[in-house]
């Protein structure tokens, strides 16, 4: 049994996005998986099996709570009810980490269940920082903010994405979650160097790395358009970009995200084992 006191920080080791169908195997033998991430919104019911499983897992694993519904980039105010729900979840679970997205998903009190894109301007910067300040003071802890997958850009943007995220971190004190697959997807779609992006990224503020699968499509001009789907294995060029990142950042907690067409446990565990191998190559 692991020491519960060791669960207040994500280890620089592989984790996976938790899926209830894997509960029995994870509790029997987690293999290379050292920590688990859950989507906050799936654990905001009042009781039943989801919360019972979560209580059980949190005794054994360091947990990361990953919000997908706060709409930090929304033009309107943050949803006060949702802030209360997050505070409650983070309060009783006391996870090792809480993270959310540089995105919006709610507008005029409608929730669109997707991570929608933002212009990078002084005005959006101020609004996002205000929202992060409000969130961090409500839940009483530092959060991590994740870089998005981009399919298009805003003509009005005046900041590069790494600079924008670095400035948010500087102003609010929040940490960052670097999704290496998102970097690869955005770099392909918007034709920039993924290595250049990583080199411009404030890696010292990164407390977690995400990896996931993407789909391939094309835009209206026959050029490749990658879609962040979390529905398949991580591709080799993204593994290579992970190596490139870890060589500069040092070891970090690395999460495999597989949310759609969820595979059997051995397939997901093998992805985590591959992340473990990548981490072993990095000098501490």
């Amino acid at each position: 049994m692991l020491d519960a006191a060791a669960h207040d920080k994500l280890p620089a080791a592989p984790g996976v996005g938790y899926k209830p169908q894997h509960f029995a195997q994870i509790t029997a033998d987690p293999g290379a998986v050292k920590w688990l991430e859950i989507h906050a919104e799936n654990y905001m019911g009042d009781g039943g099996r989801p919360l019972a499983q979560l209580r059980h897992l949190s005794e054994r694993f360091a947990m990361s709570v990953h919000g997908v519904g706060l709409s930090i980039g929304g033009e309107g105010p943050l949803d006060a009810d949702h802030l209360v729900r997050l505070k409650h979840l983070v309060g009783w679970l006391t996870p090792a980490s809480f993270s959310e997205h540089l995105a919006w998903s709610t507008h005029d009190s409608h929730f669109y269940n997707d991570l929608l894109p933002l212009p990078y301007t002084d005005a959006s910067l101020q609004r996002i920082c205000d929202h992060i300040d409000e969130l961090q003071s409500t839940i009483g802890r530092r959060m991590l903010l994740e870089n998005p997958s981009s399919y298009l850009a805003f003509a009005e943007s005046t900041w590069s994405e790494p600079e924008f995220l670095a400035e948010i971190s500087r102003r609010t004190g929040c940490g960052l979650l670097l999704d290496v697959n998102n970097v690869f997807v955005s770099a392909t779609n918007l034709n920039f160097s993924p290595q250049g992006y990583i080199e411009a990224f404030p890696l010292h503020e990164v407390d977690e790395i995400h990896l996931g699968g993407h789909d391939e499509d094309e835009d209206g001009h026959g050029r490749p358009l990658l879609i962040d789907s979390h529905g398949c294995a991580v591709v080799d060029p993204v593994w290579a970009l992970l190596d490139f990142t870890l060589a500069r950042s040092g070891p970090k907690p690395v999460l495999i995200e597989w949310d759609n067409d969820v595979p059997d446990w051995p397939v997901l565990e093998a992805e985590a084992a591959r992340a473990a191998t990548a981490l072993e190559r990095v000098p501490a």
């Binding site: 019911g45 009042d46 009781g47 033009e75 409608h110 269940n113 212009p119 399919y151 779609n189």
Partner: protein
């Protein structure tokens, strides 16, 4: 040339609207088809949420029809909170209002049963009282007792055989539904919600209990609806479902 979130969502939810000016590709050309990624993501994720929320309705209608209905529903009733576990609460009334589905009058109530099962799955935990506690009460004491029921408990009344339809579409070898009214009790013995058919006037009795009536007062209401009301059988269903969480015999 800024793009507001109002413009963005309007174009995202209606493919007939033009892609907002100010969204571009890496050559500073209009984003065009790239915007469809968001249109697709929203429609696909909410359609999938409807399929997993209403598997029996999806089975009854077939995938293509369910996809089409979900596509209309998600535009008329986008989620009002990020809690997708509760999405679809307007779907029963939506189904009943569809002219093309009027010949399938039972759909709305079957959808209500699926909603009730999902709510029960996420309802607060509660510790049931031991059956012996009820058994220890003298008959007149029992009649004066008020019951607290578990948060997972729900009662549905339908002119359609909703339990039989649900079973026929979720259980191998379940009998074919016969045309009759069915009242259904939903309980959650541990983690798995369980629907059970209630005997005549059982629904009336349980609803009276939930409304604060004593067992005896509720019995009078149930007997007024149906003289054959079976108190013992209905009480047994509640006990089996771990549905009684508190007794108040003070009168």
């Amino acid at each position: 040339m800024s793009v507001s979130q109002t413009e963005f969502t309007r174009a995202m939810m209606d493919a007939g609207q033009p892609v907002p000016d100010g969204l571009i590709d890496h050559h500073a050309q209009p984003a065009g088809r790239r915007f469809n990624v968001y249109r697709n993501n929203v429609a696909v994720s909410l359609t999938e949420a409807m399929h997993s929320a209403f598997p029996v309705i999806a089975k009854l209608l077939g995938k293509q029809n369910m996809d089409g209905l979900a596509g209309i529903y998600l535009r008329q009733h986008p989620p009002s909170t990020p809690l997708m576990m509760f999405y679809g609460e307007d779907f029963p009334a939506f189904l009943e209002a569809m002219e093309q589905l009027k010949h399938l009058g039972y759909l709305g109530d079957v959808a209500r049963l699926e909603l009730a099962l999902r709510r029960a799955y996420h309802a607060a935990d509660a510790v049931p009282v031991a059956p012996e506690e009820l058994g220890a009460l003298a008959p007149d004491q029992l009649m004066n007792t008020r019951l607290t029921l578990a948060p997972a408990v729900d009662v549905l009344r339908s002119p359609w055989p909703i339990h039989a339809i649900w079973r026929y579409n979720t259980e191998d070898g379940a009998p074919k539904p016969e045309l009759r009214a069915q009242d259904v009790l939903v309980t959650r013995p541990e983690f798995d919600p369980t629907p059970q058919v209630l005997p005549p006037a059982g629904a009336q009795w349980i609803r009276a209990l939930i409304g604060g009536a004593s067992i005896g007062e509720a019995l009078e209401q149930a007997a007024a609806e149906d003289k054959s009301f079976d108190l013992g059988a209905t009480l047994a269903l509640l006990l089996q479902g771990g549905a009684i969480t508190g007794l108040d015999s003070k009168g």
